[in-house]
């Protein structure tokens, strides 16, 4: 089976993607707990102060669930196909796999030794490196979105961008409600 790092949903979706994706989410949450990287938004990753593992887990759960809920809603509005909720939940969970790299980058001394609010060249460089896995995740999310609800072309691009912005807003609202 030929798997691409960007288009593996041609071969993996549904319950299998959900199990693998949840495995990555749990691993990322644990690594993030030790490296103090918080996934406190649909697209967010911040190096911050130490928190309990339950806070890290809840933040990551909110980040995943927000995208799943908004993309499911987008599916009802945009898609003419009969799509399955488990495909959206599974493919989006798997799309978050690159966040494990972000959690690992959080161990970089430049971030670990940084004082609150400090910005220097090393921190800027590490932050820049963190952007690449996030772009990878967004690409995977787009493929998850188009494969799971079967939308193409302009409708897919606009639906994805609007959906992702709404998911980001929803995740921030949920973080405000349950964590802050």
């Amino acid at each position: 089976m030929k798997l691409s790092i960007f288009k593996h949903y041609t071969h993996i979706a549904g319950a299998k993607a959900l199990l693998i994706g949840l495995g990555f989410i749990i691993a990322t949450t644990i690594v993030g707990y030790y490296s103090n990287v918080h996934f406190d938004g649909a697209l967010d990753a911040h190096s911050g102060k130490p928190s309990s593992i339950s806070i890290h887990a809840l933040q990551h759960l909110i980040a995943w669930v927000s995208v799943v809920l908004i993309f499911s809603l987008a599916g009802f509005i945009l898609s003419k196909s009969r799509f399955r909720f488990i495909d959206i939940a599974g493919t989006i969970a798997l799309a978050r796999a690159p966040m494990l790299l972000v959690a690992l980058i959080g161990f970089a001394p430049a971030l670990q030794n940084a004082k609150p609010g400090e910005i220097n060249n090393s921190i800027m460089l590490v932050t820049l490196i963190m952007i690449f896995p996030i772009i990878w995740m967004i690409t995977l999310m787009y493929n998850a979105f188009t494969t799971s609800i079967n939308v193409k072309g302009t409708k897919a691009v606009i639906g994805f961008i609007v959906g992702l912005i709404l998911a980001e807003v929803l995740s921030k609202v949920l973080n405000q409600q349950f964590i802050l």
């Binding site: 949903y9 041609t10 071969h11 993607a17 003419k80 079967n150």
Partner: protein, 94 residues
Amino acid sequence: MLKTNRKLPELCPSCSSTLQVTSLGCSSCETTVSGKFQLPALARLSPEEQEFVVNFVKSSGSLKVMAQHLGLSYPTVRNLLDDIIQKIETNEKS
């Protein structure tokens, strides 16, 4: 009978309009029937799409079985089916 696996042409190579059957012949007695006949809906699909439909029927219409058989994910197989349905509906309107 021809043993070569020739592709049934769907579109006119000159103007790209949909082709029609204008002649049917009996290879046994060489009787020829002429007229204008529409190609059946399935014959207007590409060979790959026709193979998909055959596999779908062989799988008793189960997309899960087809997905396992083809080594593809369920939504990918469902999307292929949706594309074929859309093509058939478009062909029926034209």
